[in-house]
Symmetry: C2
Subunit: 347 residues, 2 copies
């Protein structure tokens, strides 16, 4: 249990600190771990007391500044050194905890990760890896999902390598299938960067065996689970995540309004309520935990900005294998071994 | 009725020539127009006879070669000069018809459009503009949706300008709202190209008034109709179209299988059958007609490769305002007027 020390950003996200505190209490009741909630100590203690919590697992760590969602990331991290995010990141760096989880400003968390924790040697661009729901069950991992809007072929290889390790060690998929999101499945498809990335991914698979690269896939096939690690730049990854969220939201909004127009439909909707809920839950990000920021020297997790208590609880619980299976260490070792191929192929 | 001469590629697409012939017969019954079906004359005449068609509106034009879906586009267009696609494009060029519609090889149609019809002066990159379904009703226009994987800022301005004209003249939306698909709504978001395109779109709006640019939008908001013309490069456009298709397909597949498990659900699904069908129809591309290839000197329309007869019929019917409102001429005039801004800002 020594290495199950979770540091939580108590002030980050739309529902902080309440959802953070509630999620921590729920997680502490579910698994053995130590949880540090960083933020306004008085508020946090009040929140814990209000929930009747008097255990030893959760501890408040004071930080008297907050980085809001709209602040310029680099400036915020540089100047607000007493913010919950910066204090939390420093705790992780100083080994006062094993993972840092935040629902706060994504850019600031990326910047803070780079400045305070630093990059893993051999990784040019850390990536946000987000779980993507598969209709037939399970999840895929989308990397990058928003951190790097412009990528070189080599960056895409890094995302593939890191995503593959995370998928295997944390999600438990053996020999995960890695695919490049492209405009067609043929090998000569796409932009100059995509074509070069395709070659690099083949080379890495054939010469190092570090990834199980299965080739290009089209966006049409993402929801049916044709691959486990979905590689793309952060612009495309962002479009995929947001569009999926938007389509699911609009669709269930329509189901809600249309299916309850008229008595016959209302009855039908009532009879199908469980099934509709089941379908909707496929898209419920709060079930899937947070998104690891892979490539920094520390276990760093980004939660959705509008995370509720359930999302916080799940992010904590699902961060445990991230710690215990030493994902960061494993990425360091793998990248070191394959650095040659990366250097050879940089453009 | 003189200018309602539709040229159809009788041999392009997964369901050619049957779906093409059937769609032509349906369209000829619905609107006054002349339809030339280009392809294997014997087959086409047989198909017309089998449908009891003996009218004067539809005419078969012989072409004894076919460009298949998997041929290398440029080579196919250069060498198969007797193919239905090349013959049809030449008819359009020689003013033997007013629009050419094909469900065939997209790359070949683009290449053929460029070689045979030529680019409109001032347009660097023609784009495929696809209608995108809005949940609350109506459609938006996605440009580019796959023709140009790599774009300069200036290309995105071209897509915005041409898409805006098409949306106004053909779909009938006055002063259409043009938006740039980005990773966030703030003006400084995205890649170098997106940032430069943002500035160019603002400049064009403010100095020329040719577009109603409303700024950046996130992919999350596409399905709810926050804009009428959705501007992006062809890689992102392809991802958006294919992902939407894939998600809708997977979702209705789930609805079909899950909602009919067990007697209670079956009854519920029966009561909701009409509503479920209505929702599914939102995603039925066959209702929306074809996708114009904007920027070439002629009215050119690409249909979905798997178009059925209904899609063909609708593509023909919806091509009429494309012809009658002289969209190509209007693009030529607009681009000529604003060429200065385009040249100033090319990178």
């Amino acid at each position: 249990m020594d290495n199950r020390r979770v540091i939580l950003d108590g002030m980050g996200g739309d529902n902080a600190p309440d959802a953070i505190i509630e999620g921590a209490v729920q997680a502490a009741g579910a698994i053995p771990c130590k949880i540090f909630i960083v933020g306004d100590e008085a508020l946090i203690k009040k929140g814990l007391a209000a929930r009747g919590y008097s255990g030893q697992s959760i501890e408040a760590v004071h930080a008297d500044e907050v980085i809001s969602g709209h602040e310029a990331p680099v400036k915020a991290v540089r100047t607000k050194t007493r913010s919950s995010m910066v204090v939390g990141l420093n705790m992780l760096k100083n080994n006062e905890g094993d993972v840092f989880i935040s629902a706060g400003n994504t850019g600031a968390l990326m910047a803070g990760g780079l400045f305070i924790l630093g990059r893993i040697q051999g990784i040019d661009r850390p990536a946000i890896a987000t779980t993507y729901p598969i209709f037939t069950g399970g999840v895929a991992l989308l990397a990058d999902s928003g951190a790097n809007s412009e990528c070189k072929p080599n960056n895409l290889l890094e995302f593939a390598t890191m995503g593959s390790i995370y998928m295997e060690k944390v999600i438990g998929v053996r020999n995960p299938r890695v695919a490049l999101i492209n405009m067609g499945t043929e090998e000569n498809k796409g932009t100059t960067v995509l074509k070069a990335a395709y070659e690099l991914l083949c080379k890495s698979r054939d010469e190092y065996g570090n990834i199980n690269f299965i080739g290009n896939i089209e966006a049409r096939d993402l929801p049916i689970g044709v691959a486990d690690v979905l590689v793309c730049d952060g612009y495309v990854g962002n479009v995929i995540l947001k569009l999926t969220e938007g389509l699911a939201g609009a669709l269930f909004q329509q189901i809600k309004s249309k299916f309850t127009e008229g008595a016959v439909s209302k009855l039908g909707a009532l009879l199908l309520a469980g099934k509709i809920r089941g379908l909707r839950d496929t898209f419920d990000y709060s079930e899937y935990g947070g998104a690891p920021i892979l490539g920094v020297k520390g276990a760093l997790v980004k939660m959705h900005g509008s995370s509720n208590a359930n999302a916080v609880k799940n992010a904590i619980i699902k961060s445990i294998p991230y710690i215990e299976n030493e994902v960061v260490q494993c990425i360091e070792n793998t990248v070191l071994e394959m650095e040659a191929v990366a250097i050879d192929s940089q453009d």
